[in-house]
């Protein structure tokens, strides 16, 4: 990374840290949402962007992570930091199950993606009948005093949630930057590009594909825990929904698959766009059902057509950060 890139990163970090002092509550919730999608996008990107394994069911890990921590909290009063470990373990286990089934039996490409959808859908249906966590009626966490910051139980002001999500996103970014330069990072790219050649160069492809799924699924778990304690209510129909999985993957795709900044940039662009459109539609008075989705779709289409590599690689060239900083 060159000096230019470090300066940009420094300015961005300063802005993000100062944001709660500058922004109103609406802007802060928007920023928190962006960070949430930046984080989950980063986790998904490890599987697809790095290792080339398409998951269309990442809502599974958000949902299981959320339910695991929330159920422990609601039923046993166990705090989210302890619940996080259960969430991590369950998500890694599910990831391992999907990875093993797929890679052991040679399921790849579209069929692998279908398998990930199937797991998410089965889990959704299962949770809709799982009475201990409220089944389809939902699971609710007691909303606490929002002025009092209780980091141990993850109860507090929107600014606290914002900082928690910011710390998670920053950690995920650092972790992925480290991964990309590690042996596993190189091996994932090799597998993504050509599995047969990768194997001939000494890569145990099964092991490294499993590793990608494990890292990605476990990484998604904390986002679920956050989701549970931020929104305080969980419904299987919502959290496991395939549209959730799609929301997670749009950011990295629009931002730049396999890049480190892509998931963050993509999440920002899409969240601001979706929200801005809602405002715009309301302001202009075109409250025709579906008009927002049409606009949204047109913008996505534009990005995919004119920037097929995503926004970040093009932007990195403009900023003079170059190819190495772009990865």
């Amino acid at each position: 990374m060159n000096r230019r890139a470090v300066q940009w990163l420094g300015a961005l970090a300063a802005l993000l840290i100062a944001l709660p002092a500058l922004a109103g509550s609406y802007l802060l919730s928007l920023a928190t949402l962006i960070l949430f999608f930046a984080y989950t996008g980063q986790a998904w990107n490890v599987m697809m962007g790095f290792a080339g394994q398409l998951s269309l069911g990442h809502a599974l890990y958000v949902g299981v992570g959320a339910y695991a921590a929330a159920a422990l909290f609601v039923h046993f009063g166990i705090g989210p930091w302890a619940g996080l470990w259960l969430a991590l373990a369950l998500c890694a286990l599910l990831g391992a199950a999907i990875g093993f089934l797929a890679f052991r039996f040679g399921i790849s490409g579209v069929y692998f993606a279908l398998l990930t959808i199937a797991f998410a859908e089965f889990t959704r249906i299962g949770f809709e009948h799982f009475d201990w966590v409220g089944a389809s009626g939902g699971l609710f966490l007691k909303v606490a005093q929002r002025e009092h910051t209780d980091l141990v139980n993850l109860r507090g002001s929107p600014a606290m949630f914002y900082y928690v999500m910011l710390a998670l996103t920053a950690a995920a970014f650092g972790f992925c930057a480290w991964l990309a330069r590690s042996r596993a990072g190189y091996y994932w790219l090799a597998i993504r590009e050509n599995e047969e050649a990768a194997q001939a160069l000494g890569i145990h492809t099964f092991r490294y594909k499993m590793l990608a799924v494990l890292v990605s699924s476990a990484m998604t778990a904390p986002a679920g825990v956050f989701f549970a304690f931020y929104y305080n209510n969980l419904f299987p129909e919502q959290i496991f929904n395939i549209s959730r999985s799609i929301e997670i993957i749009l950011g990295p795709i629009i931002g730049g698959l396999g890049t480190l900044f892509g998931p963050i940039l993509g999440a920002a662009v899409l969240t601001v766009l979706a929200d801005g459109l809602t405002e715009l539609v309301a302001a202009v008075g075109w409250e025709v059902p579906g008009v927002k989705q049409v606009f949204y779709g047109v913008v996505l289409l534009g990005v995919v057509m004119f920037l097929p590599q995503g926004i970040w690689p093009a932007l990195a060239r403009r900023l003079g950060i170059g190819a190495s900083g772009g990865r």
């Binding site: 590690s182 042996r183 790219l189 590009e193 194997q199 001939a200 160069l201 000494g202």
Partner: protein, 240 residues
Amino acid sequence: MALLEVRAIAKSFRGLKAVGGVSFAVAPGRIAALIGPNGAGKTTCFNMIAGALAPDAGEVRFAGARIDRLRPDQICAAGIGRTFQLVKPFAALSVLDNVIVGALNRTRRSAEARARALEVLEQLGLAGRRDQPAATLTLADRKRLEVARALATGPKLLLLDEVMAGLRPTEVDQLVAVFRRINGETGLTILLIEHVMRAVMALAREIHVLHHGELIASGAPEEIVRHPAVLACYLGAGPP
């Protein structure tokens, strides 16, 4: 003792015999060639040695140990590097990153792998293209990249599958010089499949000729070019 020993390996595809009981050996430090007309079973033999295909019968020994039931990555780790006839570059990655992937076979540390990769790129004359995506290389350079990646894995035996095909004569001579130098300096054993006889004659000290999945001749280049069975399969049967 031979470094590579192939004993009566056979492979059929849906009843169609591709290779039927081929045996040969390559001594350490040698450069040997496997030649034969199209469809003779040369690449199938390579794939069985490199672990991409399991032989139906026979065995492959490398440095004394059987390797014919190992996976390709285990065979690479054991010390056999290979190239693919149809080149398989990691297209979106830079030339340097392609070779780093190979070099990571011998070290965990990216910095060390990078240094090793740069050496190999220098050897093959690709250093000037190291930051280019592999997708932008010409066919000749892609062939060199295949060789660079395989060399970077630090093999004791290098399997080259038609790396000269499609190259201009001067490029062939350059690559021949590279292999000669590496073989002379490091004692790397090389087994090559090749149609470009200019390269075969310049490199190989022994030649094995395959035809219809059978080995029809083995020997020094001078013997092979006069061998009646070889002449018959390449030029058709001569006058009685």
